[in-house]
Subunit: 414 residues, 2 copies
Amino acid sequence: MNVEILSIGTEILMGELVDTNAPFLAARMPALGLTVRGIAQVGDSVEDLAEALARALQRSDVVITTGGLGPTQDDLTREAIARLLKEELQLDEALVEGLRSLFAGRGATMTPANLRQAYRIPSAQALPNRQGTAPGLWVQKDGKLIIALPGPPHEMQGLWEQEVLPRLQQRPQDAVIVTRTLKTFGLGELAIDAAIHGLFGQENPYLGIYAKADGVHLRIIARAATPAEAQRLIAPMEAEIRQALESYLWGVDDETPETRVGALLREHHLTLATMESLTGGALASSITDVQGSSDYFKGGFVAYTAAMKIAHGVPPELIQVHGVVSAPVAEAMAEAARMRAEADVGLGITGVAGPASLEGRPPGMAFLGLSFQGRTRSVEGRYIRGRPLVKRAATVHALLELYRFVTEQVAAQR
Amino acid sequence: MNVEILSIGTEILMGELVDTNAPFLAARMPALGLTVRGIAQVGDSVEDLAEALARALQRSDVVITTGGLGPTQDDLTREAIARLLKEELQLDEALVEGLRSLFAGRGATMTPANLRQAYRIPSAQALPNRQGTAPGLWVQKDGKLIIALPGPPHEMQGLWEQEVLPRLQQRPQDAVIVTRTLKTFGLGELAIDAAIHGLFGQENPYLGIYAKADGVHLRIIARAATPAEAQRLIAPMEAEIRQALESYLWGVDDETPETRVGALLREHHLTLATMESLTGGALASSITDVQGSSDYFKGGFVAYTAAMKIAHGVPPELIQVHGVVSAPVAEAMAEAARMRAEADVGLGITGVAGPASLEGRPPGMAFLGLSFQGRTRSVEGRYIRGRPLVKRAATVHALLELYRFVTEQVAAQR
């Protein structure tokens, strides 16, 4: 069954807003047996909206819209659906009551404009919104389904989880789609393509390849009558990929380098400290994006200058002899972070953010230092394409090297 | 003149990829006098692509596509344009030569697949791509214009700057659109709406209001025959907004809190150091996102635990008496960062990341500490909606308070 996603709002057409709602929804369709046929962004115009809805319903059975459910004159999704289905918008007293108590609960006064959000056409069922004032709409008519959700991502996601997903799961499905993502680091797309060339080009399971900030991802997509059958299609392909790319694979599905490292440290009751210059805090920030990271992350040092590195315990003679962007300095940074924060594991990053070279080192060159209970190692990294991407790539690389190093060291101790 | 933007790739429909190309392009249209009529994402299917192109050209004169120009069988933009315009793809020997020398320069071997990228229809002009192997296409026919660009953002942006923008600027324009964005912090959308209600609802200049992670943005959009005339439409509205919201305005257009702070510190030859727990490195990372930040950022401490804060110089009795999430501790963190890093200005953030409360403080509660040459101040902050958003909101708030504090202190010294 096909689905179309419409994101509504002139601010998207103005480039003011990156539409993250459509990817959020699109990623959730395959598991429900729904194939996304198209995504479009439409401005705040009743004509354009009704036209886009009509077109979408011509080739798909389900349309999900986000946006245009607010209280202002620019919020026209209700009107467009009414026009398309040739129904009249009517004030729903239950919705008025709901809005009234919402505003009372917030100690705020309801304005006449908010009443717009209490209108619906007879075919529409209101979906209660616990995160905001705009109820969603579930409109079933003539074998077609329109789901209208509010635009603010936290409201849209709340309604998705609480109202839409449970309803969609109850619908009979002719097929389910199961996906499996395998994540690699350290090999380019072409090298991976060469290593597993024979696996591409099949219809079911389908194999996709995507270059990401944390390496190349391989995504297996299988369609079958049941999840278990889809799983049986995936398993042999996954096994083949694992055999071919073994040492380059680091994670699956929604694992990230920071969740992997967090789980490893937690498992072995180890603590971590960081010292970074190139990444300027991005390394620590990634680590602390993980809920519960305060259990194992003892602290971080952002040491942008040589003087700060020395103040934190990096021997000045190392910097004089090898330069500030060097393997010995990266190792000393890891060691110093570990000692200063009294942690088990230390991680250091030094490198050239660019655009200019530094001490003869080119932009994007970095050294990652690892320290675990007195043993150290360093790895050289080269990252391309601008400051924010260099910061993210170095962070990912450092976390993945840390994972490998700690795993080895822990195994060696046994 | 209208324009449509098509982003091509099944990975976008799968939710694998957030489409940043369309917003990049959309944001650049108004200044060229082009109005974005619609944006759509299309899968890797010749039929869907040709249909989307045909539909777009029905209501607009210009279509810009990104993606589908690679060497694989899934890259079908060339074929779709050929089908739509009823022309034959032909091998362009000059493009073959260009690819050959590109691969030779990289020390790589060209595969037969890459030859796909050397085909074009007679109406198409190739746009040289200095960042990759896929040339762009500039197709002018029957008064319509199709611009096909590669999908990887750095290639697309390179081609935009080097080839597309100069060509579009040369076209005669019937009108230009000039925008001006005014950025606020500390007031909600409704409060701002109440303060400048009379300014909304006009056609030209048009005023838009957008809630962002760094506060509410107001965007004035004016259309006129020349940039100077558009500017004259914007000026009185901007003046009215400035008068009404004076103390809440902190920046314009593409200024960010971190670039503002950077410029201020640079102007007054001041240096900065940070100590953060709640934001876990995100504060330092934002500061170092700014090119040249090593000139004024001396270093940062990520002190997640009370013990680390004490080790860095926060008096333990302050933590005992006031709790770790408190105004005195925030000020002591700012002071300690400043002293440790020998900087002029210190910034401290302590707070509750959530989801659980901490020492009776609710999730999202934070204290921002400011220290400038021995004078300190603190500000309380409350942020909602999940860990990453809390980190970003606290970072923005801290940088804006820092801007205000330093400006006042520098003025007081005069």
